[in-house]
């Protein structure tokens, strides 16, 4: 025990010396970007294992692709290297991953997180290290704030931003008025519940008949669904993630709620959702995806081809393009600012990036102003953009459609 603590003190001292040296070096040459032939590292953080691994791995691949393309372009004077760190959707694991990232003096920027609670845990670490964090997938509204500015920026819309177009669609276009809300007890679920209630409160004639909070990892939703069935709602709003969302749909059908529409947040928009729920049960589930469909994005086709060509086995998922754009924003900022962290932070906040998602700029708290969104629906075991679906054309009817 004693030996261990001595060792860790030595390590800590070593780390401090390193960071001091790094700090000194950059102060002297702040104006001129450093362009020696060296390696610059960018950390990627996300859930690479655990129940959300499919989101994290897809984004990691897209991120790696962007860095690989930047290296191959030959326009960089240094070699970029990806440090991918698993946060396992767990704040504790995420914090130690972030510590690992900031301890490496070559890591100049980080792109991270799909889970808001994990981002909450790592933000103070990046802030105190002065390393910019670009969030690719965590959508808790409070992550980008005056407190965290300028170190934290985010390319993904927040839940509030994400819920608004979904609510407008479900209420105005689909005419659903009577709602049951099911969300999980995490920060993600809670702010979804609040955002959805808020949206409904803005539309007269709508009502929320029940709000249920579920625990992540819970396996039995029949008591909640039995209650909801008795309330004859027009639709169920689900503000959680894949596994629970899939079970809710399956168990709802078992209880005879086949004819009740399920509308979900982007947390369920993943092929794994359909796989877990079964394509029959998932048919007609609606979810929103921030941004547009990859095929409709400028450069989307090239991205898709490059991704396939690079040989990644896992699909890039809903958030792949975000991680890809986040990576490119960091790369561009590095070009302008060089390895000076302060200049890099500023360059990121001032970025105006024309990427897959369209033109991304950040507002006064580092939140993206780019909130295009696409409504998707499950059709024959696939997520299909609403506008291209048989539901839109009237060939099929959504559950509970009049």
């Amino acid at each position: 025990m004693k030996r261990l603590s001595k060792l860790s003190i030595k390590l800590l001292a070593l780390m401090m010396v390193f960071s001091l040296v790094a700090g000194c070096g950059s102060q002297g040459t702040a104006s001129a970007p450093k362009t020696e032939n060296k390696t610059v590292k960018i950390a990627f953080l996300g859930p690479l294992t655990g129940s959300n691994a499919m989101q994290g791995v897809g984004a990691r691949n897209a991120f790696q692709l962007a860095i690989k393309q930047a290296n191959d372009s030959g326009k960089l004077a240094y070699k970029l290297e990806v440090v991918d760190l698993d946060d396992a959707s767990n704040p504790g694991t995420g914090a130690s991953a972030a510590q690992k990232a900031v301890a490496d003096p070559d890591v100049l920027a980080a792109v991270g997180h799909w889970n808001s609670p994990v981002a909450e845990a790592t933000i103070p670490i990046f802030k105190s290290a002065g390393i910019p964090l670009v969030i690719w997938g965590a959508i808790g509204p409070k992550l980008t704030s005056a407190d965290n500015y300028p170190y934290v920026t985010r390319v993904a819309p927040t839940q509030v931003q994400e819920n608004a177009p979904l609510a407008a669609f479900a209420i105005k276009d689909l005419g659903r008025k009577k709602w049951a809300i099911i969300s999980d007890t995490s920060t993600y679920g809670k702010s979804n519940t609040d955002a959805w209630k808020n949206e409904l409160a803005k539309s007269p004639g709508t009502e929320v008949v029940s709000v249920d909070e579920i625990q992540v990892g819970q396996i039995d939703f029949r008591p909640i669904l039995s209650k909801i069935k008795n309330q004859n709602v027009d639709a169920i709003y689900f503000g959680g993630v894949v596994m629970e969302g899939a079970m809710v749909r399956r168990q709802a059908n078992e209880l005879g709620l086949n004819n009740t529409l399920l509308v979900g947040i982007s947390g369920i928009l993943d092929d794994k959702y359909i796989e877990t729920a079964g394509s029959e049960a998932a048919e007609g589930v609606i979810a929103t995806k921030p941004g547009k469909d990859v095929s409709e994005m400028a450069g989307g086709k090239a991205f898709d081809e490059a991704y396939t060509q690079a040989g990644y086995k896992e699909p890039y998922g809903a958030y792949g393009p975000y991680a890809y754009d986040a990576a490119n924003i960091v790369v561009e900022a590095l070009k302008q600012a060089g390895s000076d962290k302060k200049a890099l932070v500023e360059a990121i906040t001032k970025a105006k990036h024309d990427g897959l998602l369209g033109t991304t700029t950040f507002n006064e708290v580092g939140q993206t102003t780019n909130i295009a969104s696409t409504i998707s629906v499950v059709q024959d075991g696939k997520w299909v953009a609403w506008d291209a679906s048989k539901y839109k054309s009237g060939e099929r009817k959504l559950p509970g459609a009049k």
């Binding site: 294992t49 655990g50 129940s51 691994a53 499919m54 007890t185 709000v211 249920d212 909070e213 579920i214 625990q215 990892g217 819970q218 396996i219 039995d220 029949r222 008591p223 909640i224 039995s226 209650k227 069935k229 008795n230 894949v242 596994m243 899939a246 079970m247 399956r250 168990q251 078992e254 209880l255 005879g256 794994k272 796989e275 877990t276 729920a277 079964g278």
Partner: protein, 306 residues
């Protein structure tokens, strides 16, 4: 009224899955005086074994010679046999070496082996840490849509009743079952009258493992999704049910399982905002029981031996 009835059915169904594992705990506790804490993980191993078996050509082959229902039962039987053998192996590796030593040791060794099982699934099953859809082996239609009763509900409840009845018959009416009882009541006396207590213990672990296997199948069919770490919460609920009902008592396990399930379901269904606290309410009740009725609903009052 129909809502109340369907919530009762929900609770009985959930209670059935808790009861089976609680009986498993009680069986092991009865003959060995130890708590086998890996029971929940062993049950989930059965679910994953069945998942693996379903991926092989076994089911189509069976289907070609047997009716589908029978071949499904055979699959479940094979899955449960795997855990029965696993349980025997665990007895040999992590329980037997500590016989006659402090009961804390097998407690710790079974907790540890449970974690080993859980992590092995996570590591070696393809994408093992992700939730896996569990094949619908039970018929999925509804019997009564207004009461929300499906065939699955009925089969899960009937399967539990059948297993419990079978176990009751085995323990009370067969020679080996009676010798298990004798060993659990007084091992020295059982040895003196010439019973093979070692065999009784092996049979208990075999049966207990089989029971856990079926319970794992039922819980997976019930949630329709399995994940490698589901066993820890399931085991904890089962153990709580066994304690509340009276550790060592078969019907106590059922009573305890039902009580926890009813509390969870009714807190969810009838207390506004209660769904977030259903687990809390269930375990709170367990604490109350430990405080005021430590012997459990059907357990015998433990008298301190002098």
């Amino acid at each position: 009224m129909s809502l109340l009835l369907s919530q009762i059915i929900n609770a009985i169904m959930l209670g059935s899955t808790y009861s089976l594992i609680a009986i498993g705990f009680s069986l092991f506790f009865g003959v060995m005086d130890i708590v086998v804490f890996s029971a929940g993980d062993v049950a989930i191993v059965a679910a994953f074994s069945i998942l693996v078996l379903m991926g092989t050509q076994m089911l189509p082959v069976l289907d070609s010679i047997l009716p589908h229902a029978v071949s499904s039962v055979v699959m479940v039987f094979v899955g449960a046999m795997i855990t029965a053998l696993l349980m025997l192996l665990m007895y040999r590796l992590v329980i037997k070496p500590f016989e006659g030593k402090s009961p804390l040791m097998p407690l710790l060794s079974t907790i540890a082996s449970g974690i080993v099982l859980r992590e092995l699934i996570g590591i070696f099953y393809p994408q093992g840490r992700n939730p896996q859809a569990f094949p619908q082996m039970l018929p999925s239609g509804t019997i009564s849509s207004s009461l929300m009763i499906s065939w699955r509900n009925v089969i899960i409840i009937l399967a539990t009743v059948f297993l419990v009845a079978l176990l009751y018959w085995f323990v009370n009416k067969t020679k080996i079952g009676l010798s298990i009882q004798a060993v659990s009541q007084n091992r020295e006396a059982a040895m003196m009258v010439g019973l093979n207590w070692r065999l009784s213990i092996l049979v208990t672990f075999l049966i207990g493992g089989f029971l856990l296997g079926v319970s794992g199948f039922l819980v997976a069919s019930y949630s329709e999704v399995v994940r490698f770490d589901m066993g820890s919460m399931y085991g904890l609920k089962g153990f709580s049910a066994a304690v509340v009902g009276g550790l060592g008592s078969m019907f106590g396990g059922i009573a305890g399982g039902m009580l926890i399930a009813f509390i969870e379901v009714f807190v969810t269904a009838y207390i506004p905002g209660g769904s977030a606290y259903s687990g809390v309410a269930g375990f709170l009740m367990v604490i109350v029981f430990i405080l005021f009725k430590p012997e459990g609903i059907l357990g015998e009052k433990t008298v301190e031996k002098v």
